[in-house]
């Protein structure tokens, strides 16, 4: 092999190494969710400047929205929020209500909504918004299966989020998880709201059955989480009214999925 070729090869190898190492050396800031077990699994909390995916299980689109709203509330730190959604999502699962947002303890004044006509526009807008470091969180809401939201698109969003430090969240309704470069992926269901501690006060606190199905830097798990509207954090519900199906919180990291199900 001639010297020039060896040289070129070495350069190329070097650049590949640099590209690959970027992801590993990347140590994001984290914000605690408030739920002790989940925070322990996530090694301190939700990574900022990364992408997170939240899938709604079946008809639980509102629960998934609530969960995203909670994550958004934790990650935003009083910075402006951008919520990008498809027109179709609003017809199908209802518009994001500002009164509802305020009831969950978030500030509607910080929210800018972008109504994108289709997925392509929404993706482009999301990439643009993620590049703007004045923002706290960018949420991309996509309804249904979206072919455009592939590995390449996901990588683009992740890079944009890492560069700017803006946290990106993708809310998917009526969709199956596909491979992506997201930091975490959650599947969210609604859980029964706990009976209130003092008699006479109402039920109805937002409680989620959140299943962490992907975690790039740690194990996965499943927890019942309650969003505390007043304190603006997640917590364990006072009493879980229904038994949780075999909480797989302490499974070893990277155990094959099939084995897990068998256990």
């Amino acid at each position: 092999m001639s010297g020039a070729r060896t040289n070129t090869l070495a350069t190329l190898r070097g650049s590949i190494e640099r590209i690959e190492s970027h992801g590993d050396t990347y140590r994001p800031d984290r914000v605690a969710l408030g739920h002790a077990d989940a925070d322990a699994t996530l090694q301190g909390g939700l990574a900022l400047g990364a992408m997170h995916e939240v899938f709604a299980a079946g008809r639980h689109s509102a629960a998934a929205t609530g969960f995203v709203t909670g994550l958004m509330g934790r990650a935003a730190a009083r910075r402006p929020l951008v919520w990008i959604r498809q027109d179709f999502a609003e017809i199908e699962s209802g518009a994001l209500s500002m009164s509802g947002l305020a009831e969950l303890g978030l500030d509607p004044r910080l929210l800018v909504t972008v109504r994108a006509a289709d997925v392509d526009t929404a993706l482009k807008t999301a990439a643009d918004a993620l590049a703007c470091d004045a923002l706290g969180v960018v949420v991309l809401e996509v309804w249904g299966e979206a072919r455009q939201l592939d590995l390449v698109a996901s990588r683009k969003l992740t890079l944009a989020a890492q560069m700017s430090g803006v946290t990106g969240m993708v809310l998917r309704v009526a969709a199956e998880p596909l491979p992506s470069t997201a930091e975490t992926r959650w599947i969210v269901r609604a859980a029964h709201s706990p009976p209130s501690a003092q008699p006479g006060s109402a039920w109805g606190a937002p409680v989620f059955d959140a299943q962490l199905v992907r975690n790039r830097h740690g194990p996965v798990g499943r927890w019942i989480m309650e969003w505390k509207c007043d304190e603006c954090l997640f917590a364990k519900p006072a009493a879980v009214p229904q038994p949780v199906a075999a909480a797989p919180a302490h499974r070893p990291y990277q155990t094959p999925a099939r084995a897990r199900r068998a256990g």
Partner: protein, 463 residues
């Protein structure tokens, strides 16, 4: 002339129906093209155009050269043109009706129009006929008469028209577009068609525009780029901004976004020979000392981002929300354009939530409440045990309510029924906000005075 007579003169006559809409469109297109000569172009329907060329003629080598240029191009396109230049618009129009290519010097209007027949004034047929019957064949004949005689017979409107034609006073023209505050343009000896040259031209124009605005401390709120094609077609692309723009690179970027997102891309055809950039709305910019306050910087960045997104997908698609003073859930929030109301939205006072209470309003609200099927309720005005929504049956396990919301009787659509809202949770843990339309027994009665069955709707979903 009746068609039969025309056919007798010319047997091979081809007949078309008049298409007023197409004519108006053609006239509009010609007016677009005429924008290259002056920004003040007015339509004189059905087949005339006024161009206010005050201060523009020297750019084209004088009035005569300009008129020849304009007429030659239009003739080459297959139009029959008759043009005139005069001190008043009415005088010029009168000239075009009878002679082509006259330039009337200032003060010579009366002499120029006197020999023309009265029909050249273009007034109503009845007046023209009346004048002719009175033996007043030319405008000069009419002008010799006392004004009050003419007014008494034909009305004040005609007298005014006559005076304007004679150069005594002038009627203002109403231009199609308001005059932009700043205009910069670039003409090309050789038409350009490539994207690269277009974008370079736009950025140069942006620099020139910013320079011109900067001298007077202005920033642009609305920008318009006009692309004049060699074949006469003109494409105008406008960009609105939320904050006055004072940087050329920002203008450049906004137009790049806008051009990329066009549904029907810019078609250069045989090339553009003139590109014009104008600031049609400007504002005085207060130059601020940039301090270390991160908030100011963040707000600017956010506003710039909103402008960019709006340039691509349209300003009405980027919204912020303002609270409204009403109890009706669907009207409690108004979505307004983020470009124009960002500051107002940041100051808005939202009703505070009740501490220690679960959310009382759903996170997701349907724009139109969706009807649900309720087989029965235990008590007529109580909550349901089961309901069917979107072809799935939900068994209610928890209920909270009712929360009664009456419609606003002082509004036009305030006659709607009172709603009883319930928060319900089903066996799967889904939380709904459902309501019954109408009060049982009082609002919901049949013609015979018996209670009527009620309609139920799901209005929102709780997290």
């Amino acid at each position: 002339m009746p068609l039969a007579n025309a056919r007798a003169i010319c047997p091979h006559l081809t007949v078309f129906d008049a298409d007023a809409a197409a004519d108006a469109k053609a006239l509009n297109d010609i007016a677009d093209w005429c924008d290259r000569f002056t920004p003040l172009v007015a339509l004189d329907s059905p087949h005339g155009l006024f161009l206010d060329i005050t201060g523009c003629a020297h750019l084209f080598g004088g009035e005569a050269v300009m008129m020849r240029l304009l007429c030659d191009v239009l003739t080459a396109q297959g139009f029959a043109v008759s043009a005139a230049i005069a001190g008043t618009s009415v005088c010029a129009r009168t000239m075009t009706r009878h002679v082509h290519g006259r330039i009337v010097r200032d003060g010579e209007e009366a002499d120029a129009v006197r020999p023309l027949p009265v029909s050249a004034l273009g007034t109503e047929d009845a007046i023209t006929r009346g004048l002719r019957r009175a033996g007043l064949k030319t405008i000069g004949d009419v002008a010799c008469r006392e004004r009050h005689e003419i007014t008494a017979r034909f009305g004040a409107g005609f007298t005014t028209l006559l005076e304007h034609a004679l150069g005594q006073g002038d009627a203002p023209i109403s231009p199609r577009k308001p005059l932009p505050d700043y205009i910069v343009e670039k003409r090309f000896a050789e038409p350009i068609a490539t994207e690269g040259v277009i974008s370079v031209t736009l950025s140069r124009l942006a620099e020139m525009l910013v320079g011109a605005m900067g001298q007077q401390g202005k920033g642009a709120r609305r920008l318009e780029a006009c692309f004049f094609r060699t074949d006469g077609a003109v494409r105008a692309i406008a960009v609105d901004t939320g904050q006055p723009v004072t940087r050329a690179d920002m203008i450049d970027r906004l137009f790049r976004e806008r051009l990329e997102a066009l549904n029907d891309p810019l078609d250069p055809g045989f090339g553009f020979d003139l590109i014009r950039l104008s600031a049609s709305r400007t504002e005085i910019v207060v130059q601020q000392q940039r301090d270390l306050d991160a908030n100011v910087h963040d707000n600017d960045e956010l506003a710039a981002l909103i402008d960019r997104i709006a340039a691509r997908i349209g300003g009405q698609r980027v919204v912020v929300h303002l609270p409204q003073d009403t109890h009706i859930p669907e009207r409690a929030v108004q979505a307004v354009s983020a470009q124009h109301h960002l500051a107002a939205a940041a100051q808005a006072a939202w009703p505070a939530r009740v501490e220690e209470e679960p959310p009382l309003r759903p996170l997701r609200l349907f724009e139109r409440p969706e009807p649900i099927k309720v087989p029965f309720a235990t008590v007529p005005d109580g909550p349901p045990h089961h309901f069917t929504w979107r072809r799935a049956t939900h068994a209610v396990v928890r209920v909270e309510g009712p929360e009664r919301i009456a419609m606003e009787w002082w509004r036009r659509n305030g006659q709607a029924l009172t709603r009883d809202y319930f928060r319900v949770e089903d066996a799967a843990g889904l939380r709904f906000w459902i309501y019954r339309d109408g009060l049982y027994g009082s609002e919901l009665v049949t013609g015979k005075g018996e209670p009527a069955p009620s309609n139920w709707f799901v209005h929102g979903l709780f997290a």
